[in-house]
Symmetry: C2
Subunit: 350 residues, 2 copies
């Protein structure tokens, strides 16, 4: 494995360095060729860096940054102000080639705006999109966009499909099935953008477009890549988290209701620990910002240590796969096939 240097925004998320630093240490122990640059307030970071082994200490450095980006900061405020914000400094390390990737649990809109501003987008891509993996009945499904773009044109949905398909293919799935999220599977269903995007996707030769998918089809694993606008994707993801928590809470309420049930649960404790693991969304934390010229991973704001370590794992794998460069090539190939198809159609129309 080649060396991966990851700049981690230590100040992002609901818990800041208290959770981020231990997650970085755990990741350094897990990946022996990983290097991490912790970016943020050194006075707040260093107390969590005591008693490190020599191997970990050698691969963990701190890059001071004095400002923080708040959840209420608007993208415009962030672009103009806060030159020494930890998120901005982490992204600059990537641009300057001093880190291979950036991981942040901070404000999503800010991460999107700053990534676009500092790293620039790949050719042909108007706006980056955020993609995450979700568990399904069969395997893993990838959903994008998750909130970077609240209003999307058909052309943007097409770009998301091309990026999602390429990223999943680079991750080892051959000919990933790409579907558009819609309110029904019949061709007459949906809004104008989605119907137009379906027409565009059907013309792309090197995308395995399989049609519309409904919300329940996502968790049945009916596709490998599911494309939607950021508003819909964000609502799907967050409501799923809320429902998973609700179901777990009602279940454990029943499990603990009587002494008899608690005794049976104790006898079955191995099973409950396996259920807990299988249900935990922490394994799926770490959403890739696709379409910027660099590896950027967004972690959930309320992520715990295990979840932040998952996000660092996503970034590490993307660096090893050389994601941005290979993604750029895939996008070029897809667009070449699209313009060839449009050429043929235009010639036919004449």
């Amino acid at each position: 494995m080649s060396t991966a240097i990851i700049a981690v925004d230590a100040m992002g998320g609901d818990f800041g360095p208290r959770y981020v630093v231990p997650a970085c240490i755990a990741s350094l122990i897990r990946y022996p060729s990983l290097h991490i640059i912790l970016v943020g307030n050194a006075q707040q970071i260093e107390p969590h860096m005591l008693d490190l082994s020599f191997s970990v200490k050698q691969r963990l450095t701190v890059r001071p940054a004095q400002e923080n980006i708040e959840m209420s900061d608007s993208p415009a405020q962030i672009l103009r102000g806060k030159p020494d914000a930890s998120m901005r400094v982490a992204l600059q390390l990537v641009r300057e080639g001093r880190a291979h990737a950036c991981v942040s649990a901070g404000n999503t809109g800010a991460l999107m705006a700053l990534s676009k501003h500092i790293l620039k987008t790949l050719p042909q891509i108007e706006r980056p999109a955020i993609m995450t993996a979700l568990p399904t009945q069969k395997s893993t499904i990838h959903l994008l966009d998750l909130g970077a773009n609240v209003d999307c044109s058909a052309e943007q949905l097409l770009q998301f499909a091309v990026m999602g398909s390429a990223a999943v293919q680079l991750g080892g799935v051959s000919q990933p099935r790409v579907a558009l999220l819609n309110v029904g599977v019949e061709s007459i269903k949906g809004n104008q953008q989605v119907r137009q995007a379906a027409g565009l996707l059907a013309g792309l030769k090197n995308i395995n477009y399989i049609g519309y998918i409904e919300g329940d089809g996502v968790y049945r694993g009916e596709a490998d890549v599911v494309v939607c606008d950021g508003f819909v994707g964000n609502v799907l993801l967050k409501s799923s988290e809320g429902l998973a928590r609700l179901m777990a809470a009602t279940l454990f309420e029943e499990v603990k209701r009587t002494f008899w049930r608690r005794s049976l649960a104790w006898l079955n404790r191995n099973m409950w620990s396996e259920v807990h693991k299988r249900w935990s969304p922490d394994h799926y934390n770490g959403a890739l910002l696709l379409g910027v010229d660099g590896v950027v991973v967004k972690s959930h704001g309320a992520a715990n240590q295990l979840a932040i370590a998952s996000a660092i794992g996503v970034a590490t794998r993307a660096v090893q796969e050389n994601l941005p460069m290979r993604l750029g090539r895939h996008i070029q190939a897809s667009y070449a096939s699209l313009s060839a198809a449009q050429q043929v159609r235009q010639n036919g129309d004449e």
Copy 2:
């Protein structure tokens, strides 16, 4: 309890009369003053009506209708063609005053288009919306729209809020908390329609508008009424169903994995049956079509007997509450307060 006469589209849904007729019989046993008119193909309905008690037989009639509406029929096709479709005939019974409500598990777009065409909308309402109840950590939350309107203006979202608030209030919640579904709770988040709707709602005196809610807040029960466009609501509802099924499947896989676990599950069978009941979405089946001049309830297409009986229960309660008439009055009052507020603002601007 006064008599409620409900016209049930026997041909709608994935299973037709085979599930619909037994669900009607169960509902007639449960509600002694309920009458049901089964609308559809008599040859297919009658084989499921054997061995009825005298009381049930007296309150169950069949109104033949020879055509069915398919899932692939477009609203335009449905409005022009199929004069003898079971769904259309059921709605006509409501318009003619021969039934108080219509229940169908058929094509949602068709039910919406035909309801609007046959029953007309209430004054001030451009388009009806579909509302359902969902379980949360605290109590029940009501979500609308669920797919009747895939593109919504701010003005339509406002109308949904007014209708949802009024319907939930008539159902017994005083001053229901109304929230707009969004990708964040900060005022800068979201798309233009949602931000504009927030501005309009803040000006309505008799609506308890509490601001934005995110997907996870829905299942935490942070509001009583959650308003969104039909695309987003449909995705939220269907992905929730898919996730609930996935979580139940992974849990029961673990529960049955070994002989030891199966034995413990048998000893704990009361708990498992309670968990099964608490998790079942069947209790929440039956979505109200708000804004048409009549009670119309949409059942899930894949609804089983228990679920269809729930939908008939929703319709029965709406008839008892005299929903359309009282909803019309509430809407008038809300709009009077809105125009008064706009008047004050305009005077202030002058």
